[in-house]
Symmetry: C2
Subunit: 339 residues, 2 copies
């Protein structure tokens, strides 16, 4: 276990200046003799350059921070995974912060970021408060936001089109002949919650279906537990023949409740989830889910950030990822196939 070794040690052993050592090790031109002696000395001493010293000098940490709202939700895990892949590929390390959904934690984290431990940040906030926006604008490093932002707030940004996503779900159900399409949402005061509700309303009116309060429930949280409560409420007050859920976890909860009530999926009630996470596939029956492009969004965000780090004053970019529907067992095939 070689203790430590610095440039000067290597330089002494090789009989050259530290500048030469640095140059050789960074592949800058040097004579064959020097190159060889430095190489020899470096390996003999087990020299490894110090990341911190380099960072201080060149002003880059080669670290990217990722702040996710809820690690319990598989969609964030998938995103995290993809971000990790992209950034490590580009030579960056990933600093993870699982600042719950509490905006004040996120703000603390941003304050820490200003100490410059990372070159940039990817953040996917569940709730966007004014304070959070203010803190984001104070941030000294580039930020990419996954998710929608209030109008007028300009950040590199990649978002899903959840309204269109819900549109796909409703259309799919309508085609299959379902007429009473319910909706289980997450908290409406979150960014995705609000967007998904708007999408449901739009899709229902577009297909000329009534919007009734009995057919809507919203969970306190995007979790299975909260979903169970919401599903119980929904199914005790109405008898839909299909239910769209704002989330795969909520969809699993809906299916559980249906199963408890002895209602068959998809024969009696069709279920559609959102995010198209692993659990949609794992569930039994497997769940038709709206793929909001989480992996693509994650990748796009990571690439956006890396590009921004390379060219700091490129124009702000907004990417929208198109949704698609992954049909599985929880919804029936279309009754009258499109001609």
């Amino acid at each position: 276990m070689t203790k430590k070794s610095t440039l000067v040690l290597v330089a002494e052993r090789a009989g050259v200046s530290i500048a030469s050592v640095s140059r050789v090790l960074n592949g800058l031109p040097a004579s064959d003799g020097v190159t060889e002696r430095v190489r020899e000395a470096a390996t003999a001493l087990g020299y490894v350059p110090s990341a911190t010293a380099r960072s201080l000098k060149v002003g880059k940490t080669m670290q990217i921070a990722l702040a996710v709202a809820d690690v319990g939700n598989p969609v964030y895990v998938a995103m995290m995974h993809e971000v990790s892949r992209v950034v490590t590929e580009a030579g960056y390390r990933l600093v993870l912060s699982s600042t719950g959904s509490d905006p004040s934690d996120q703000i603390d984290f941003l304050a820490g970021l200003n100490r410059g431990f990372a070159d940039g940040l990817i953040m996917s906030p569940l709730r966007v408060t004014d304070e959070l926006v203010a803190a984001l604008q104070e941030t000294r490093v580039p930020v990419v936001i996954i998710g929608s932002l209030p109008a007028g707030v300009e950040f590199d940004n990649v978002r899903a089109d959840s309204a269109k996503g819900i549109g796909l779900a409703v259309k799919h159900l309508v085609k299959a002949g379902r007429e009473r399409i319910a909706f289980i949402n997450g908290p409406v005061d979150t960014v995705p919650g609000a967007a998904r509700l708007a999408g449901y309303v739009r899709a229902m009116t577009k297909h000329g279906m009534p919007l009734v309060a009995d057919m809507q429930a919203s969970a306190d949280d995007f979790t299975y537990r909260a979903g169970l409560v919401a599903a119980r409420e929904l199914f005790s007050q109405s008898t839909p023949d299909a239910v769209v859920c704002a989330n795969d976890l909520l969809a699993v909860a809906a299916m559980k409740e249906l199963s408890t009530r002895g209602i068959r999926v998809p024969e009696q009630v069709a279920v559609i989830g959102m995010d198209d996470t692993d659990i949609a596939e794992l569930a039994n029956p497997s769940i038709t889910s709206v793929d909001l492009g989480s992996v693509k969004r994650a990748r796009a965000a990571a690439k956006l950030l890396i590009r921004r780090l390379e060219t700091p004053d490129a124009p702000v970019e907004q990417v929208v990822i198109k949704p698609s529907l992954t049909v599985r067992e929880s919804t029936p095939a279309a009754q009258n196939p499109t001609p």
Copy 2:
């Protein structure tokens, strides 16, 4: 968006030396006048100390690296989450590396670690090769391993007792009157795979049950997909009345296959998973699972590492977390309750 500001700027504005600024900001004694002037100047300039510079000087990064094998597995996500909580609480940041299960990636990562971007490492390797052990021993920072290590390799280490865990599962099934207990394992060349197989063998012989090849299958991977293949193989060659799975994902797969074959859980076949992850609860029926203490292990590992960073030459510590069984719907109640 205040650009930057250093100690010297603050010092100039406050009319004191940079040493005084540093002292005031670090809470070292200083006269009231100086303290106040420095405070004023610091806030006026929006001064935030540089993490990199501080790291270089004090030789600590306040970062802890976590290397997990498989982010697709919810048990690692749960561990990651817990580690994150503990380290941030202690003032460290978490650097995440999702080096697949490929040992060479992990070795690369270790090499990077030697550049000193983190003060310590928590690693949970799926496969432990000689090269990996060698690389771990070369590592310049303290390492805590989650999982078992070859005899004679000394690291701070926290492990589960999966043999005993399987013992709990088998005992539970035997009590419920099951007589043909099958086993679906993950890859046997992994650390957990080997341990769980050994545990199954031990538990079966202990209860005087026959060990037959037909009743065992091993998946190529600890994933749902691989589990489906293994389950298909198992149930086509034998008719167990219970199946213990090395993993919750494998258990979900087993249940899916059983459902496809029209076999009822738990009436005809009982299913037990391991790790007691969220999906055990989400599944329908919910899955009885051996809790190997993943969260506790994660917490213990994090605490161990932090302790080691504080007192570098404390003796090496090995923590073993006891397993427990979380009974859910996938297993029947005991037939003859213990007197």
